[in-house]
Assembly symmetry: C2
Homo-oligomer: 257 residues x 2
C-alpha cells in the first residue's frame, strides 16, 4: 500500500469501528444523557485516562531510538502535566500556572469528574468502576506491552479520528449541558494534541511497517484499539442506559439482522 | 478467622456475587433463551473454557511444592483430556475411549457448541467472540500470573458454588431445551470434578493464608473471579438479550435505586 492507500484503509476502519458511532456517544451529543449518566461516564473513563501515561511509558521503554523516545515523551507530559522547570517546559501555554507548570490531561479529567458531581478521590481510587471497563483498559496496556512496536504505536491511531469527535462533542456539551462548561479543558487541549500526535504516529508507522503483512498488523492494531474504546461504552450503556447490540465485527443473532 | 468463619465469609461472597444470580442464567434456567442465544453463550464461553488449562499451567508454574503441583495437574488433565497412557490415566472413566483415553472439558464444550448449532472451527478460532468477554477472560489469566499464589488459588474458589449451579442447570436444560441433551457431558463431569477441586483449594488456601490480611486478599480474589464471570454474562446479555443493570459492587444511578 502507498501512504495514501494506507491512510485510506485506516480511515475506512475508523469509519466502521471508531466510537464516534457508539449509541452512548450519540445520546450524549443529542443531549439525552442525565447528569448521573455523564457522571458514571466521566468516572469510568477516568480509569482509561489514568492508564494512558502508563501505556505510553511502556511504548517509550520498548524503543531504542532516542528520536522516537523524545517525540513520544510529549504524550506523557500532556497527560501527567509538568512543573514548568526548564528541563520540562509546559506543552500547553494556556493552562500554565503561576510557577510556569501546567495541568495535564489527568488533572483536567478530574475537573470533568467533579463538574458532573463525581468525587475526585473516588475516581483516583477507581472505586465503582465497571469491571468490564477495567478489563478493556487493562487489555490496552497488555496489548502495547506484548505486541510489536509497530502494532503498539499503530494502536494510537484512533487519534486520527479524535479531533472531529472532540470538536463535535464540545459544541454538543455546551449546547445541552451548559453546567459542564468549566469541565471541558481536557477536550480543548486534546484537539491540537491529538492531531499532532496522530500525524507523528501515522508517519512513523508507515515508515516502519515495511511489508504488506506489517501494514495489515498495523490495521489490526487500530481495529483492536477501536474494539476496546467501544467495549467501554458498551459496558456503560448496558449498566446505565438500556437496549442491546453487538459491537462491530461480533456475532449477531438472526433476529438482529 | 477460623476455617469455619473463613468458609462462611466465602459463602457470603458467593451468595452476593456468583453468577448463579445473573439474569442471563435466570433466563436460561426459565427456558426463556432462544437457540441463537444459547449458541452465542456456548461460543463465547468456549473462549473462557479454552483458557482454563492455560491459567492452571500458570498456577502450576508458580508453585515450588511438588505435592501441590501434582494435585493441581489434575485440573489440566480434566480440561485437556488424556490419551490413556499409564503415566496419565484418565480421571473420568465414563468417557474413556477405546484406547483408554478420555475427552477433556474443552472437547466436551465443543460438543455443546455444536449441539447449539455453532461451528467447532469458529469456536477454536475465537471468531466473533465479544471483545468484552475476551478482556474478562484475559484478565483472569493475568490475575493468576501476577497476584500471589494464595490469591491465584483462591480465585478458583468459585468452584465451591459450581456444583449446585450445574445440578440446577442440567435439570433446567433438559426440561426446556431437550435438543441439548447430547451436549451436556461437560456438566456431568464437572459436578464431581468441581467439588473435589474446590475442597482441595479451600483447604490449601486456608493453610497458606496465614494472616488476616492474607485471608482478606483471598476473599478479594474470590470477588475478582466472581466479577469476571459476571462480566462475561453482562456482555452477552447486553449484546444478545436486553435491559441493563450494573454488576454487584459497581456504581448505581439514583434512578436505579
Amino acid at each position: 500500500m502507498t501512504e495514501t492507500e494506507f491512510l485510506a484503509e485506516l480511515q475506512r476502519i475508523g469509519e466502521e469501528r471508531y466510537h464516534h458511532k457508539h449509541p452512548f456517544h450519540l445520546r450524549m451529543h443529542e443531549g439525552k444523557l442525565s447528569r448521573g449518566q455523564l457522571q458514571v461516564w466521566a468516572l469510568n473513563r477516568y480509569y482509561y485516562q489514568s492508564r494512558i501515561p502508563i501505556k505510553d511509558a511502556v511504548i517509550l521503554s520498548r524503543s531504542d531510538d532516542p528520536e522516537f523516545r523524545r517525540a513520544w515523551r510529549k504524550r506523557i507530559v500532556d497527560h501527567d502535566g509538568s512543573t514548568g522547570s526548564v528541563n520540562e517546559p509546559s506543552p500547553d501555554v494556556a493552562v500554565r500556572g503561576a510557577a510556569g507548570g501546567s495541568a495535564g490531561g489527568i488533572e483536567k479529567w478530574l475537573k470533568l469528574v467533579e463538574v458532573t458531581g463525581g468525587s475526585r478521590e473516588q475516581a483516583i481510587r477507581g472505586e465503582g468502576v465497571l469491571p468490564a471497563v477495567r478489563y478493556a483498559v487493562d487489555a490496552y496496556v497488555h496489548f502495547v506491552s506484548t505486541k510489536s512496536l509497530v502494532e503498539a504505536v499503530a494502536s494510537s491511531l484512533t487519534e486520527l479520528f479524535a479531533g472531529s469527535l472532540i470538536a463535535l462533542r464540545m459544541g454538543a456539551l455546551r449546547q445541552h449541558y451548559p453546567w459542564m462548561e468549566h469541565g471541558l479543558s481536557y477536550f480543548e487541549a486534546r484537539v491540537t494534541q491529538a492531531s499532532a500526535d496522530a500525524q507523528f504516529a501515522l508517519s512513523w508507522v508507515y515508515r516502519n511497517a515495511r511489508t504488506v503483512e506489517e501494514q495489515e498488523l498495523a490495521c489490526n492494531a487500530l481495529r483492536a484499539k477501536c474494539d476496546l474504546l467501544w467495549a467501554q461504552l458498551d459496558a456503560l450503556y448496558f449498566s446505565y442506559v438500556q437496549p442491546g447490540w453487538p459491537p462491530p465485527g461480533a456475532l449477531r443473532l438472526k433476529e438482529q439482522g
